[in-house]
Amino acid sequence: MSLDNPASLSDAANAIRRGDISSVEMTKAALARAKASQERLNAFIEIEERPALEAAEAADKALADGRETGSLHGVPLAHKDMYDRRGFITGCGSKIRAGYVASDTSTVMARLQAAGAITIGRLNMSEFAMGPTGHNFHHGRALNPIDPALVTGGSSSGSGAAVGGGVVMAALGSDTGGSIRLPAACCGVVGIKPTQGRVSRHGVMPLSFSQDCVGPVARRVADAYLLLQQIAGADGLDPTCVSVIPPQGLTSDLSAIRVGIAGGVFADGLDGDVAKGMELAIETLSPLVGTVTSATLPDLTAIAELANVVAMAEAGAAHFDWLRERPEDYGPQIRMRLSQSLAMPAPIYLRALQIRAVMLKACLDTTFAQADVLIAPAMPFLPPLSADVDIGTSPRMNAVISAMTSFTRPFSYLGLPVVTLPVAQSQGGLPVALQIIARPWREDLAASVAQSLERAITLPAFVDRSAA
């Protein structure tokens, strides 16, 4: 880490505030990293050099003028290509929206701007945020900073690659079935999927309105949580964004925390490295928390199909007119997935929503009566090879893609907050990631446990295996 690429968001903001470095200098360095990394990572759809430098100059002037500054004042970030900013393109990683210029600014981007953050570009993503691998027919896939042969995870592929590759300290992603957690898991960084309704979706590309969440990807838990605090909270422009207590501060006192280990489908057939990582995390957590026990989960049979029905029925409604008018403008994989929506009769969609209410109640009454947080792996295996999920070339594609989301989708369906972080490194230098799941609105508990785990497990840095 260096002055122009500090270890944390707070360090960056403090360095600018103290005058150790200007926002322009830090932003120029981030832009240089973005440009230099593009061939290796393909993390950006667009690098916005001029507007970023203008914003950085304005930030430096505000500081010089003694005006009040936010907690991210002058700090360069980059975000998934799906958040509206007035006068800028929101392309959604697609051909269909590639030239769409937003007439208004999304609430999340407005809040980051109010906090003083600078945006240096739009990050790559799966087309319309559909796809857990990060493949993109139009822009090419973002490449995993640890090994380009591996997927980055998706759909927030550029967010995972840019943060994991050290280009920016943090980025916004979105999560409907694992789209923050999977890139975090594959790229060795931290991701937070907030509670459904915690963060405004105003001006955010819709995929599945009842499961979409905006959240951060960052190097460290504290950074991810700081970013969440900036964007969270009620919003009159999004009536589904709930007015609840804002995210609380983190604590290192976990002595009263009851940890439940998710068993059953979350423990069967794990890759050996993932199983070892889970064991290490449990061993490390045990002396830090009150109790560690096996969690009692409701019957999660068919939860993957239930979550998919909700997601694709809602996505099918959002995309209905384009599916009629310009289906050839979708990438083949996305067009196939969206077509599923026509095979879901209304009673099946509503049944999936009814069952969601029943499962959430069972979870609250039983699972979270016995545990404050649950832990589960993020994926049953290490980050897969891109070649195993390339459409039309791998007979294993469907099986690998389904398995990738099998541990993340249940918590999207239930709307629970989840923090994902790396807890181990395989012999081959790949990340093993854990999910920490809490009751609704208790991101603070999940993040507190995650931060303690992060401090207790000192992982070596993930390095680019292709450079060896």
Partner: protein
């Protein structure tokens, strides 16, 4: 085969166009999976979901917010 015809008719009726072969494959696959897993869900047996509304989920989340 019959399912594929139904799916093709849905596409023509609602989208006003023919479904491509990959689309038909995805649609028939989806119907088969959902009919096998969601339709017979034990959680709905005996009318257990008769009075459950999707809004109950939002009510639970709201109640949690007030805890």
């Amino acid at each position: 085969m019959e399912i594929e015809k139904v799916m093709a008719a849905l596409a023509e009726s609602y989208w006003g166009r023919h479904a491509s072969e990959p689309e038909l494959l995805a649609m028939t696959g989806e119907l088969r999976r959902d009919s096998a897993s969601i339709a017979p869900s034990a959680l709905g047996r005996g009318g257990a979901l008769f009075t459950v509304e999707p809004a109950h989920y939002d009510a639970l989340m709201q109640a949690e917010a007030k805890r």
